[in-house]
């Protein structure tokens, strides 16, 4: 690599001419949270006054709230005064070459089939100019700009499109929604803003990955996606890089707004550090994701593959306000070691003929604990609403656990709500059968698991589906026996 860090930074900074990307690694607040911290964050971002006021309002409300304790997860109470609320997300020192990266991480990348250039980017190694990320990003920007699509950091949006942000932010997830949403609303450091104008079909899949500076956004991301009438967008979140952050709290908020005939597809492959096999370390992932099908015939689809984090608390939801609106939730959640996941969805049917589909696949191995929690609510006005829920659990070994908590509230007699649930085990018979046909136990397990997850994987964009499969294989390696 011929380039130094600062040269590279200059390159990136030049690209983001709007001013976002002041390198913030060196700019870390001391741990602790009070109004002064909230003000400082807002100031650092050069935000408009109304944003600061919203943050403060959220902060004050958060002070009155307690951490939720209803999920099937156990973790030591989080000390919110021990967290730094403004910092570079990657606190590890900047690496100069791949030689300085944990070989285990590199091995994982290799198994995932991630190219060297990507590896450099993902491990936080200064990316040299050979990796043409900057020009790649530029090409995207131009194509998107031609289509009228806005795709930028939320702090950038607050400066350049403050009225749009103001109109929609917190309109789906108000700060009072829950403890972690309130916290996020007070201290969010950055995130992504997407705006698709009326009638526009976004010319490419949008992904944080391409907004390189964003790939490692910190603990409190805020994402806002607005699809105007008749528009369409597919958004990919996260990359499959293992992030070795120690026992960190991630409390993100994602808001989607779909107007008439608009369609938003939101895919996540999450592979954060799950902690070691003894249960030490790992990310606490408390995320509020909600989509608002505001317009008639609008369509929001969540697809998630969750293999990482020590603790996952996450319920991507849809509010089906529009007539004939459609909400979908496809999920694979894997827990192994001492990982705990309490995840699911909420489908709130308000509009007539609104439909929702839920397919949840939970895989538990070793001592992993996996809970599906799903709410289907049919409001009184929602004539002919329909929901179909499939909830399958797969157990590997006999020390793991799966729980299912379906909540169904129907206030309209014309509603059709169906719920199916199964629990199965990867049996010794199956493994013997596969091995007798020449497959290794690991191949056998990954084959059975991929079969189990097929319905969800086929909802992912092609490249993502392949990556997700590999990721599952890697993440469950050694989980059998």
């Amino acid at each position: 690599m011929g380039q130094t860090n600062s040269e590279m930074e200059a390159l990136i900074a030049a690209e983001y001419a709007q001013g976002f990307i002041t390198r913030i690694d060196s700019d870390t607040f001391p741990p602790g949270l009070d109004e002064a911290v909230v003000r400082a964050i807002s100031e650092r971002k050069g935000e408009p006054e109304w944003m600061l006021q919203k943050r403060l309002e959220a902060y004050r409300h958060w002070l009155t709230m307690d951490q939720p304790d209803w999920a099937v997860i156990n973790h030591p109470p989080i000390d919110f005064q021990q967290i730094s609320y403004y910092s570079s997300p990657k606190q590890s020192p900047k690496l100069e070459s791949l030689d300085q990266v944990d070989p285990e991480i590199l091995a994982t990348y290799e198994k995932l089939g991630i190219s060297i250039e990507e590896q450099k980017a993902l491990s936080g190694v200064a990316v040299d100019a050979v990796f043409d990320s900057v020009s790649v990003a530029t090409t995207f920007r131009e194509t998107l700009a031609e289509a009228g699509v806005i795709f930028c950091a939320i702090s950038e949006a607050l400066r350049d499109y403050p009225e749009l942000v103001r109109q929609y932010m917190a309109s789906v997830v108000p700060h009072k929604d829950n403890f972690f949403a309130a916290l996020n609303s007070a201290v969010f450091s950055d995130g992504t803003f997407v705006y698709i104008p009326e009638g526009v079909k976004c010319p490419m899949e949008l992904s944080t990955y391409f907004r390189i500076n964003e790939a490692k956004t910190g603990q409190f991301e805020r994402t806002l996606i607005i699809a105007e009438a008749g528009s369409e967008v597919s958004y990919l979140e996260g990359c499959t890089a293992p992030m070795r952050d120690e026992n960190q709290l991630h409390a993100a908020v994602v808001e989607l707004v779909a107007m008439e005939d608009a369609k938003i597809k939101y895919s996540t492959v999450q592979n954060w550090y799950p902690g070691d096999l003894e249960g030490k370390g790992g990310i606490y992932n408390f995320v509020t994701k909600r989509g608002d099908c505001r317009g008639d015939r609008s369509h929001i689809s969540w697809t998630q593959v969750e293999t990482g984090s020590a603790v996952t608390w996450k319920y991507p939801s849809c509010i089906l306000r529009g007539r004939d609106s459609v909400g979908e939730f496809y999920s694979v959640a894997v827990t192994k070691g001492f990982q705990q996941a309490d995840t699911g969805t909420k489908m709130i049917h308000i509009g007539e003929n609104s439909r929702s589909t839920i397919v949840s696949k939970g895989i538990s191995a070793m001592q992993g604990s996996n809970a599906y929690r799903g709410l289907v609510r049919i409001a009184g006005k929602a004539e002919n609403a329909r929901n179909h829920t499939r909830c399958d659990s797969l157990l590997i070994g006999d020390r793991c656990a799966a729980h299912t908590f379906p909540y169904i509230e129907v206030k309209n007699p014309t509603a059709k709500v169906e719920h199916e649930a199964t629990t199965s085990k990867v049996s010794e018979d199956q493994l013997f059968y596969c091995r007798q046909r020449g497959l290794t136990e690991e191949d056998a397990v990954s084959m059975i698991i991929n079969g189990f997850c097929k319905e969800v994987f086929q909802e992912l964009p092609m490249e993502f589906a392949v990556e997700a499969q590999k990721l599952l294989a890697v993440s469950l390696e050694g989980a059998v026996g």
Binding site: S424, S427, E428, D429, Q430, F432, Y433, C434, R435, Q436, R437, G438, L439, T440, E441, D443, M447, I448, N450, G451, F452, C453, K454
Partner: protein
């Protein structure tokens, strides 16, 4: 090719095999008969390397190697195939992909390139037709929701595709109607070559109406109590197993 010497084995502390001796040469087909619970499946599983059995004595040599030292998949990769008495369902795993993965695992072990899609498809369709397995079942999950007969045909299809050196069939004929029985027998006969050894475990002699064994053995109470030619099977049919057990006990 296969030499079993004084093999003893137990399950959960209970002795099941009490000294089995058996020798199968390349090109030979041996039938193993015997009453229920005599240890036929136990023997087949131990040869394939299934966990849960403790071999307490004796030895098994396969192609000059100590078979019992090898992992299940290593045995498979060296050409040992077991058609199971109760084929296992693999929900979500496509039957054809499974077969192809399996073929490729064996090919890789032999240092051969993976099979290309076209020749694989051609072969699998032709062989499915031979064993009269509905082509639709190729696209379904492995054995999931298959009838008993379909499962057994699928086992024979796998055997035909994988072309083992030593094929062990554990009661592949049980529970089949006469048509299916003939299909299984045809499948076995098609695979008989001068290089291949076959060990056919059967409870009934009727399979042997269609398959000419080189030798017939009777496994009773964990031992081979009698070996002979085809006529032994006929005698068993006429007289049952009782007299043999009495003779063995005497």
């Amino acid at each position: 090719m296969l030499a079993i010497k004084n093999l003893t084995a137990s399950v959960d502390g209970k002795e099941i095999l009490k000294g089995v001796d058996l020798q199968v040469e390349a090109g030979e087909l041996h039938a193993i008969m015997g009453p229920n619970g005599s240890g036929k499946s136990t023997l087949a599983h131990i040869l394939a390397g299934r966990d849960g059995y403790s071999v307490t004595g004796g030895e098994v040599r396969y192609l000059g190697e100590d078979l019992l030292q090898l992992e299940v998949e290593e045995r498979a990769r060296q050409g040992l195939f077991l058609a199971m008495q109760y084929p296992v369902e693999l929900p979500g795993v496509n039957n054809m992909s499974f077969l192809r993965e399996s073929m490729n695992a064996l090919r890789r072990a032999r240092g051969e390139p993976e099979i290309d899609t076209l020749s694989f498809m051609k072969q699998v369709k032709e062989k499915a037709r031979q064993v009269k397995l509905d082509e639709k079942l190729l696209k379904r999950s492995v054995n999931a929701g298959f009838s008993g007969g379909e499962k057994k045909r699928n086992e024979i299809l796998q055997m035909a595709m994988l072309e083992p050196k030593l094929a062990i069939l554990d009661e592949t004929d049980s529970g089949l109607d006469i048509d299916a029985l003939r299909t299984v027998a045809d499948g076995v006969n098609r695979l008989r070559t001068a290089e291949r050894g076959m060990l056919v475990v059967t409870h009934y002699q009727r399979l042997l109406d269609y398959i000419q064994p080189d030798k017939v053995h009777v496994l009773a109470d964990g031992r081979i109590v009698r070996s002979g030619g085809k006529e032994l099977a006929l005698e068993l049919e006429a007289r049952g197993y009782g007299w043999l057990l009495e003779e063995a006990a005497a």
